[in-house]
């Protein structure tokens, strides 16, 4: 297992370099260092000298990927790409283009993101599995039929509709919770109640339908027939046999998502005024802050790789037949 993890970690380095390179290429295809300087310095009275100084101070006055004027390894190391990327692999993200510390921002913003994402993930998955189990339990009945119809309807509705509808009904018409905002500690509960409810309800349709498919696939297998032949009740068959065997595909989707919970939700955070990492990324893209964009993409990639690794490990835990080879 250790050898497998080490091998995957080595692969990860190359994947991260690739992702970093693509991010870099895409970003600088759209923006030039001059554009970044202008955006930071404003649009009034900005002189070419001020732009040159801004770029020089932040190292954006160098060639992007290759410095033909340098010698030896400096051809590659005296470039924006190299200088901006090497430190990141040591998880030193440096400063945003507006001068603020990225690591500090991430450390403060990840908690609100987690405070929203974790309950949505856990409660959502619990409800989805419960609903899916119910549909599978009552398969081929009107409950299953209308359950699937409800799922299709719910998954067809835009996530934005749930947010706006939820805010309108619960906060505006019924005045039950604040419409937006965030606070630390226990005060967070009143702000998170609505976004969590909206997130959970918005995810039920697609999640429950997917899990129902998994459960129905298991229902038809021989071991289930055997269990029933042994005289086990349907409840025991479902919860002790089918649910356990259905865990592998469920884990595939769930475990890989766990590390990404740190990255936050782009739309929900914005609408509910939650100062998380999702809104941080969007703001960085809008303000063409390359330092933040590359850091967030890097972290997102690293977490995704971590998620895949955790998924592989979790396979061995739930299915003894799977081994690292």
């Amino acid at each position: 297992m250790s050898a497998y993890i080490v091998r995957r970690a080595i692969y990860a380095v190359f994947i991260l370099i690739g992702v970093n390179l693509i991010t870099f290429a895409l970003f600088f295809k759209v923006n030039t260092p001059d554009d970044m300087a202008r955006l930071q310095l404003g649009v009034k009275y900005v002189t070419p000298e001020a732009i040159a100084k801004w770029k020089a101070e932040r190292g954006y006055d160098k060639p992007l990927l290759y410095d033909g004027t340098a010698t030896g390894r400096h051809k590659f190391t005296d470039t924006i790409y190299f200088e901006k990327s090497v430190e990141m692999f040591r998880f030193n993200f440096g400063r945003a283009d507006d001068g603020r510390d990225i690591a500090y921002e991430i450390s403060t913003r990840m908690w609100p993101s987690l405070a929203l994402a974790v309950p949505v993930f856990l409660v959502g998955m619990l409800l989805q599995i419960t609903f899916a189990l119910m549909m599978a339990f009552f398969r081929a009945t009107y409950i299953d039929f209308w359950g699937v119809v409800l799922c299709v309807v719910m998954m067809s509705i835009s996530g934005l509709f749930y947010i706006i509808g939820g805010q309108y009904l619960i906060s505006k018409l019924w005045n039950l919770v604040p419409i937006s905002g965030y606070a630390g500690g226990f005060d967070a509960l009143k702000f998170l109640a609505l976004p969590v409810a909206v997130g959970v309800i918005g995810g039920i349709g697609s999640g429950a339908r997917w899990y129902r498919t998994i459960f129905l696939e298991e229902v038809g297998k021989d071991y289930v027939r055997t269990a029933r032949a042994k005289g086990l009740s349907e409840v025991v068959v479902f919860f002790r046999h089918i649910l356990r065997n259905a865990l592998i595909p469920i884990l595939t989707g769930a475990v890989v998502a766990i590390p990404l919970l740190f990255m936050g939700s782009l739309i929900a955070e914005s609408f509910f005024g939650i100062p998380g990492l999702g809104s941080y990324t969007i703001e960085a893209i809008q303000s063409q802050d390359f330092a933040v964009v590359r850091s967030m993409v890097f972290i997102g990639s690293a977490l995704y790789i971590l998620g895949l690794l955790l998924t592989d490990i979790s396979y061995t835990l739930v299915d003894p037949r799977v081994r690292f080879e």
């Binding site: 759209v30 923006n31 030039t32 554009d35 202008r38 955006l39 930071q40 310095l41 404003g42 649009v43 009034k44 009275y45 900005v46 002189t47 070419p48 001020a50 100084k53 801004w54 101070e57 507006d98 001068g99 603020r100 510390d101 500090y104 921002e105 403060t108 913003r109 609100p112 119910m134 009552f138 009945t141 409950i143 805010q167 009904l169 619960i170 505006k172 018409l173 019924w174 005045n175 039950l176 919770v177 604040p178 419409i179 937006s180 905002g181 965030y182 606070a183 005060d187 009143k190 702000f191 009740s233 349907e234 914005s270 609408f271 509910f272 005024g273 100062p275 809104s279 941080y280 063409q288």
Partner: protein, 723 residues
């Protein structure tokens, strides 16, 4: 069980107070706190860098430049802030001999600014001293900061008196290469020695070796070591600025935060190792003498200004415009401001929650977005705006004001078709083409459709409220409007087509080749309603049989095209830096062309007569003579039509009944000190508007439970059947 849990939660919430949806802590209930919002995090709070209005919303309450604008008087009038009086320039020739104010040629002007004694800075750890008078926090080690995460974590704080040297220090900061002040380039052309000082400091900064790798050399030692030739400390409370030639607009700059004082101790404090890593900087925690101080800076969620206990107080003005008394704006005349204890700014990125929170009483004031305009305002046949019945019922008040801004469609003067190059005959043809387009674009319709009527059609570059703006018959652009039946109307499309034919494009086709005339408009495209706006413009051009094509690009490419002159027509706007016509006319001043000189004249317009008049006008005091020159300049522009003067936007703002003394001041943003609140009324209204409605939630819950009953029955039946 689930029902019990939910009911318990509801009861728990019910115990939280009369209203459940209050986004603020219960401890703030009934307090004298103003609640406002911000949508974008301010990029800079350092007064040497901050230029955007959303940045000034914060720092204008903290920093005090020597001058400020009168809160109530219009046109905008400068009054002293920390200065003892408005400085009058003295004029000198190159030999240093003083000249009379009427002298035709002036080599430099000297502004001597005397500040009031006894003004104190806000409490701040940078000023903290021990019993022996030694600074407590100016020689910190990185370990000393281990448990410090905000300014409040420094247990001791101090203050000191504001002195003239602090103003001089800030002017030096404008020149530092690592501060990147946006006005350095502009001011270097005026303040004697600033350019040379900036070069010297840059050289020294480059030569300095950082003490540790990755740690940049500190800014303040260089600034303390060298002086600017044209900026001097005269005595403890007086400083002097020498400006090249005449620059009467310089006093307006003295009302901007760029010229606010910064204590060197603050730079020393923030420059210590480990500070920047924790966001301890002037860009994060300002240090000023103003009525408020920034006590919480979490630009992702909330920023809080609290009353500065050291603020000396400021007397509420006792005069203003004639209607101010009737509107209750003089009720607090003579009282000492500030009236409000704290201002909580909450970050609100989306307009829907923002608007709903205003309607629930959780924001004390609000702008009006296009989406909410119809529900908030009723515009009468005469164009007069009034509140909707719902707003009026809630006691909300509406304030409108014309912004000191101009939006325009610019022709690129270097373009061979619409520009002003070539021989006289070609110039005349292009002029008629521009005039025809100016007539065809119905800006009144645009304002009505796309701005909900919130705008004044432009007749020239100078907006209402700025000296030089004309009302009445002189206010209309005769190239576009004509007076018929005693009123001014936009000229007919037939007249526009006639001009087009005279320009060489009868029926929108080239008289020579017969090819259709196709013009190109560069835009940034996007945004809500962007396509509708562009379609509308296409229709305007179709009215005179001209085809309009759009060249859409992102903002960066758009700006690059303008800088390089690769455009034919484009939209832009301008917000005034200060209330002087020079700040609008210079946008068309030939020597400030964007392509040749990288200036602000994005149209690259060039007209010798206009340029000559501009040079004459820019240094004059306001008066009939200056007005006459401005009139001549506007006449030149109306004839040449380098811009289609689109409109001057009108700001509509809403205020709750419990907020008093609000008068929009578009030139200055330091008016929070004069706002007054009635927190008790606010509490009553919030409770009235936000009564929790629980029964629909309970009903939904019951329906959910009822929905599971058939399933339970079915399961039971199945179990029994097996048995």
């Amino acid at each position: 069980m689930r029902l019990h849990t939910v009911l318990a939660c509801l009861l728990l919430l019910a115990g939280c107070g009369k209203v459940w949806n209050d986004p603020y802590p219960a401890s703030q209930s009934g307090k004298n706190i103003l609640y406002a919002s911000f949508s974008e995090r301010p990029k800079h709070l350092d007064p040497a860098q901050a230029y955007a209005s959303d940045e000034h919303d914060f720092i204008a309450q903290v920093y005090e430049p020597p001058l400020q604008y009168h809160y109530l008087k219009r046109p905008y009038t400068l009054i002293p802030a920390t200065a003892a009086d408005i400085p009058s320039p003295r004029y000198f020739d190159s030999s240093g001999k003083e000249l009379p104010a009427s002298a035709a040629e002036v080599d430099y002007s000297v502004y001597e600014i005397r500040i009031k004694p006894g003004i104190l800075y806000q409490p701040h750890p940078a000023f903290a001293k021990d019993a022996a008078g030694r600074s407590l926090y100016l020689n910190l080690k990185p370990d000393d900061l281990r448990d410090k995460f905000g300014i409040a974590d420094f247990p001791a704080s101090g203050s000191r008196e504001l002195v003239a040297a602090d103003y001089v220090y800030q002017i030096k900061r404008l020149a530092h290469p690592r501060i990147h002040s946006p006005i350095l380039g502009h001011m270097s052309g005026y303040i004697v020695g600033l350019k040379e000082y900036a070069a010297l400091i840059e050289q020294e900064d480059k030569a300095l070796q950082p003490a540790q790798p990755g740690v940049k050399p500190q800014i303040w030692p260089s600034l303390a070591k060298h002086e600017i030739a044209g900026v001097q400390v005269v005595d403890r409370y007086t400083y002097r600025i020498k400006v090249r030639g005449r620059y009467p607009q310089f006093v307006y700059w003295l009302a901007m935060p760029f010229f606010a004082p910064v204590p060197p101790e603050a730079d020393r404090f923030y420059a210590q190792p480990g500070m920047a890593e924790k966001n301890f900087s002037l860009d994060w925690y300002p240090v000023g003498t103003g009525p408020y101080m920034l006590t919480e800076n979490n630009p992702n969620a909330r920023m809080v200004l609290a009353r500065n206990p050291n603020f000396r107080g400021e007397i509420y003005p006792s005069s203003g415009e004639t209607e101010d008394a009737a509107e209750g704006l003089l009720a607090d005349a003579g009282k000492t401001a500030p009236f409000i204890d704290a201002v909580v700014f909450t970050r609100e990125k989306e307009s829907i929650p923002y608007w709903n929170k205003f309607m629930q009483g959780y924001y004390d004031q609000s702008g009006i977005s296009n989406d909410n305009f119809d529900s908030a305002v009723r515009v009468g046949i005469e164009g007069d705006a009034a509140l909707s019945p719902e707003m009026a019922r809630r006691g909300i008040r509406l304030k409108t004001s014309v912004a000191t801004s101009v939006y325009y469609l610019s022709f690129n003067w270097l373009d061979p078709v619409v520009g002003g190059q070539g021989d006289a005959a070609r110039q005349a043809r292009a002029r008629k083409l521009r005039q025809a387009i100016s007539i065809a674009i119905d800006n009144e319709e645009f304002i009505s459709i796309f701005a909900n009527g919130r705008g004044v059609p432009g007749q020239g570059p100078v907006p209402p409220g700025i000296f030089g703006y004309r009302e009445g018959d002189d206010g209309y652009n005769p190239a576009v409007y004509e007076k018929t039946g005693g009123a001014w109307h936009r000229k007919s499309i037939a007249q526009a087509k006639k001009l087009l034919a005279e320009a060489g494009y009868p029926n929108g086709r080239d008289a020579g080749s017969g090819a259709p005339l196709v013009l190109y408009l560069d835009t940034t495209g996007g945004g809500p309603g962007g396509k509708a706006r562009l379609d509308w413009y296409r229709k305007q051009f179709q009215k005179i049989d001209v085809q309009l094509e759009f060249r859409t690009s992102d903002w960066n490419r758009f700006q690059e095209k303008i800088r390089k002159g690769n455009t034919q027509m484009f939209f832009l706007g301008w917000n005034a830096d200060y209330p002087d016509p020079e700040n609008f006319m210079f946008l068309l001043h030939g020597p400030q062309g964007a392509v040749k000189l990288g200036g602000e004249n994005k149209a690259n317009y060039s007209n010798d007569e206009f340029d000559r008049l501009f040079e004459q006008m820019k240094n004059m005091e306001n008066g009939p003579e200056r007005q006459a020159i401005i009139d001549r300049m506007v006449a030149v522009l109306r004839r040449d039509a380098p811009w289609v003067w689109a409109y001057h936007p009108k700001d509509y703002s809403l205020y709750h009944a419990w907020l008093y003394n609000v008068k929009p001041n578009l030139m200055a943003r330091n008016g929070l000190k004069f706002y007054r609140l009635d927190p008790a009324l606010r509490e009553v209204k919030r409770a009235e508007w936000n009564r929790p409605v629980v029964w629909p939630a309970l009903l939904l819950l019951l329906l959910l439970i009822a929905g599971t009953l058939p399933a339970l029955r079915s399961w039971r039946a199945r179990e029994l059947a097996k048995a």
